[in-house]
């Protein structure tokens, strides 16, 4: 189910990006999309009855399988990159607001 939720979140994020001109809401939609992508990526490495990929003292004795750790490592990177881009986008939006007094890109129009 979570894998569908991931894809749905990506698509909802794209829908949000297509239907709004408000800068803060654009960044929020972008965050929803990134969240969906992260969930989807994690779901690619999921294994039914898998364990979290950490060796601990109380691992079961019988045969077991870890979930795929590589997508998790990728998502760690993606989360941090997403934070960096969101922060930058917000600063840019803030500066535009200071100049034009609105967050709405359609009100600002073509800035020549």
């Amino acid at each position: 189910m979570i894998q569908f939720a991931g894809i749905a979140l990506i698509l909802i994020g794209i829908y949000g990006l297509m239907t709004t001109k408000h800068m803060i809401k654009l960044i929020i939609a972008l965050n929803v999309m990134e969240l969906g992508a992260n969930i989807f990526i994690i779901s690619i490495g999921f294994v039914a009855h898998g364990l979290a990929p950490i060796y601990t003292a109380d691992l079961p004795n019988q045969a077991f399988s870890f979930v795929d750790p590589l997508p998790q490592a990728m998502v760690l990177t993606a989360i941090v990159i997403g934070f960096g881009v969101s922060a930058l986008g917000l600063v840019v939006a803030q500066n535009i607001y200071k100049k034009h007094g609105t967050y709405d890109l359609s009100e600002i129009g073509g800035e020549e």
């Binding site: 979570i2 909802i12 929020i28 929803v32 992260n38 994690i42 979290a52 979930v67 939006a93």
Partner: protein, 88 residues
């Protein structure tokens, strides 16, 4: 049908509903709060997917810092309210 599976379905459906609610709303504060809640749900989803590292990182960065940055960025943009509070 184990409990985890049921939980997985609940989290998935709530995630989708929350994302729609987050994207379609006209109120920015509501959108930010919903994004934060969505992030927390994603933490549960990551935990269900046996990804504790990602869950921890998402909890701290995704739902904590991102929300904080959003709030700070927008709070500053309400100068009248702030000034009133400061002069009070």
């Amino acid at each position: 049908m184990s409990i985890l599976l049921v939980l997985e379905w609940i989290v998935g459906i709530v995630l989708i509903i929350g994302a729609v609610a987050c994207v379609v709303t006209e109120n920015i504060w509501a959108a930010i709060v919903r994004l934060s809640l969505l992030s927390m749900l994603a933490v549960v989803a990551f935990a269900l997917m046996r990804a504790p590292d990602v869950a921890l990182t998402e909890a701290v960065i995704g739902s904590g810092l991102v929300t904080f940055v959003f709030v700070v960025a927008i709070k500053k943009m309400l100068p009248k309210e702030n000034e009133n509070e400061e002069t009070r």
